[in-house]
């Protein structure tokens, strides 16, 4: 019989699977280096070290401390102004404004995307507004900001919201629209609709996109804040990090300028690895939405 002829014949096997088998927890042994490599902080620390060394070497080679000081010079200025309490005070001022603007941006984005997901015209509204307003630079808002909020933090927050809102709204909306039809149907099956659907289904399901939006928004909030603190005259004395940078730049204290920027970098690292990474670990990574 040709069909069986190619088959290797062998005896049947029947085993007694004792349910009591103790199943050992097997783990592959790892080398020291592998174990260190597995700690994200170690890897990132290494990267930071390499970057700092590059900065230092390039700075020294350039030998133009007025334009680009080496890492060590910056660090010294940073340490001095940190000890003086100047940098912490300025950072605090900036962070306050930033957090308010950021939070308001998130709120407005939530509102806008909720409206957008609810109807076709809502989607059109969001798309149109975003494509129109998002490319506008802060100076476009200057006149309106002056009329509506006057000088000072009101206007800065207004500009911050502008820089945060659209990026978050775009990401959130795209995330919402990528949510699988099945999950949507499941939610509606529970009787959810409108806000309930957004809150219980769309937001968690689109969380990877939303997180990206929040990250991008956070970064742009910083950029805008630093720039806005210059444009929108801070009343002197009340300035934040942006003002600190500007002031030192005017006085050509370049090391201090970079110390200010370094503060921004540090905050960025802390927020990424402290806040965003934690959220990611507790949510999308845990839910199997990130690979």
């Amino acid at each position: 019989m040709t069909m069986q002829s190619v088959l290797v014949e062998r005896p049947e096997i029947v085993r007694d699977v004792s349910r009591s088998t103790v199943i050992a927890d097997v783990e592959k042994p790892l080398s020291m280096w592998e174990r260190l490599y597995r700690v994200p902080l170690m890897r990132k620390g290494l990267i930071l070290l390499v970057l700092a060394v590059i900065w230092e070497v390039y700075g020294r080679w350039l030998d133009n401390p007025l334009l680009f000081p080496p890492f060590s010079a910056m660090l010294q200025a940073f340490a001095t102004d940190l000890a003086d309490g100047i940098i912490p005070a300025r950072t605090l001022v900036s962070l306050q404004t930033l957090v308010i603007g950021y939070a308001m941006g998130i709120l407005l984005a939530a509102l806008l995307t909720t409206v957008a997901i609810g109807s076709q015209i809502g989607t059109d509204l969001l798309e149109t507004m975003t494509s129109m307003l998002n490319p506008l630079p802060a100076i476009a808002l200057l006149p309106l900001a002056l009329i509506w909020f006057g000088l000072g933090s009101g206007s800065v927050i207004f500009v911050l919201v502008h820089s945060v809102l659209w990026a978050i709204a775009l990401n959130t909306h795209a995330g919402f629209r990528s949510v699988s039809n099945t999950l949507r149907m499941v939610g509606r099956n529970y009787g959810l609709g409108g806000l309930g659907l957004v809150r219980h289904i769309l937001i968690p399901a689109a969380f990877p996109s939303i997180l990206t939006g929040l990250k991008v928004g956070w970064a742009f909030a910083w950029r805008t804040l630093i720039a806005a603190e210059l444009v929108f005259g801070v009343s002197s004395g009340s300035g934040g990090l942006g003002w600190y940078i500007f002031e030192n730049r005017n006085q050509l204290e370049t090391a201090n300028v970079f110390a200010g920027l370094f503060t921004v970098i540090l905050i960025g690292l802390v927020v990424e690895n402290g806040v965003f990474a934690t959220i990611e670990r507790r949510t999308i990574r845990r839910w199997g939405m990130q690979h």
Binding site: V234, S235, S236, N250
Partner: protein
Amino acid sequence: SGTLPTGPARAEAPEVHISKGYGILYLPMIVMEHEKLLEKQAKAAGLGDVKVGWLELDGGNIINDAMISGNLDIAAIGVPGFLTLWSKVKGNAKLEVSALAGLSATSLYLNTNNPNIKSLKDFTAKDKIALPGIKTSLSAVVLQMAVAKEFGDDNYAKLDPMTVGLPHPEAYTALVSGKTEVNSHLGSPPYSFMELESPQVHRVMNSVDVLGNISLDLVYAPKRFIDANPKLTAAFLAALEEADKLIADEPAQAATIYVQSAKAKLSADEVQRMITDPDTKFSTTPNGVMQFANFMGRVGSIKNKPSSWQDLFIANVHSLPGS
């Protein structure tokens, strides 16, 4: 210095990058560009066809940065901005800079739409004075100097808490519209003049009355460039003189040039009125630069103080009646 081998082919730089600013205070540079005066003078000095790249840059920081990074050869800048850089790089052979000549002087008006303000003494915490940049900009330093005159050196920063940073056009709009909390502005022409056309606005102070008709802007260059290009530097000075002369002799033509090259919507007549204003002077002779230097030295803005104005300027202009 100046010992570079001077072959006939490449005696000096074949190309020069110059930055001017925006507005009437840079008129001599505008005229120089428009009339190609530097090219003319360079040719006359036997330098052949020098290529001149003109740039428009706004703000002292970027000008200084561009200079330090070697992207500019000659630049016009506000006196305080120059002094800050000069003091900072003094002793660093690679980066040292020298002023070439004075550029312009004009009046800065402190205008307000608050009828209660008659003098500097009347400003209260509620008033906001707009400046292009607080504390360190040209206007801010002029205000501080005026305040120091009024209230004594120790109180030079008395009005600083009331200042806010706002570009001149926005400040003008704010003042004239009266819709915002900004009610005062230390402005330069044309904004200072235009503000006064509004019935709600009046002048509190004229900087010329307090500080005299001092130079607000000057022209400077890196020492290395000056040393390597003595003839070109001289040619530049000559071109500047020629531009100044043209402005003085033919204000109407200068105004037309300004309107043309700045694509200004102002009429030539208005411009002419501004450049012939008695407070506005275009001269290579620096005037009152030491006032700035002394003041900034006193309040600690600069660490290296020049002992005389000649310290700041190249030898070519030392013989002028500067101050």
